[in-house]
Symmetry: C2
Subunit: 205 residues, 2 copies
Amino acid sequence: MKIYETKTAPNPRRVRMFLAEKGIDESQVEYVQVDIQKGENLSAEMRAKNPLGKIPILELDDGTCIAETDAICTYFEAIHPEPSLLGSTPIEKATISMWQRQVEMALMLQVGMCFQHTTGYFKDRMVPVPEYGKEAGINASKYFNILERRLELNEFIAGDTFSIADITALCAIDFARVVDIRIKDEQTNLQRWYDNVSSRASAKA
Amino acid sequence: MKIYETKTAPNPRRVRMFLAEKGIDESQVEYVQVDIQKGENLSAEMRAKNPLGKIPILELDDGTCIAETDAICTYFEAIHPEPSLLGSTPIEKATISMWQRQVEMALMLQVGMCFQHTTGYFKDRMVPVPEYGKEAGINASKYFNILERRLELNEFIAGDTFSIADITALCAIDFARVVDIRIKDEQTNLQRWYDNVSSRASAKA
């Protein structure tokens, strides 16, 4: 199987890190680079694989294509359940899903909107609204405070165990540097978590 | 168990419809109304249940709280697997997850952003950027075209079988009326799907 991705983009990193945690390496998955700045992801060929024209995309050997980071991770969790990154019991699954979603919507998405709307990186294909980009950046900064409080009482974001929500948060926080949003000195619990998760071998995937 | 919700809001409707499809009724779940226009969701008590201060929230009998529509549905799918709305095989799970996510991000979220940023409904708690709201509305309209093409070849959004992605799309399309985005006369496949899904008993939940 193949994964179409862009090595430097945050969502493909989430997939690579997820697969590294599962012990799935490049002998099992071929990575195909797509230049999103040049718009290679918007070609008719790529839109046939994903109607939204975004990466990453998983292409199975029978030609089935799965887009969306979360969906790709859902596939690998199903075929390779251990170690579990989406939870085992109903409460674990729901708690991880909650935090994964909140980190995505209130952090990763906000950083992405801040980047796209304040830098004009994709201005050939969207209308940047800088005022909205600034609001998105403020939203992302506020979510750092929520994570700080959460990590005061929990080792990992969804609780006692490393999960997909930690992968998403790490990739979002590293991506946030491009819009100059960083962990503050007083966010000591978030920094402790960040140092811990960054030191995993998968963080280099 | 309890679900904190607002009867008229689109995300709580997704949860009610999901539970109706599962045959879970008000003898099993107590619904507690929260007035989001008055900001009741932003109280310290509600933020202790969900740090983002949003509804719906599922509260289990032991006090565990699960926020986020998708996470609540994940919980009920785990404790009540039939009929499956999230898929059974790895490919089904991944395909439904993909479409669910795309309908959420490219339709529901865009309609929500159009509503919040063009009407100023929540202007006591956020800074509306009308120019961005208009862009979000255009994005939502474009996604109707993607659904029209998808439903030319498939009975339901994720394929041959009704799934959570159909629930999300129905609730998003009905919600889109508040910003005057509607199915166009030429979108005959989308209209056929809409009439079919709207006629399910769960659509009235």
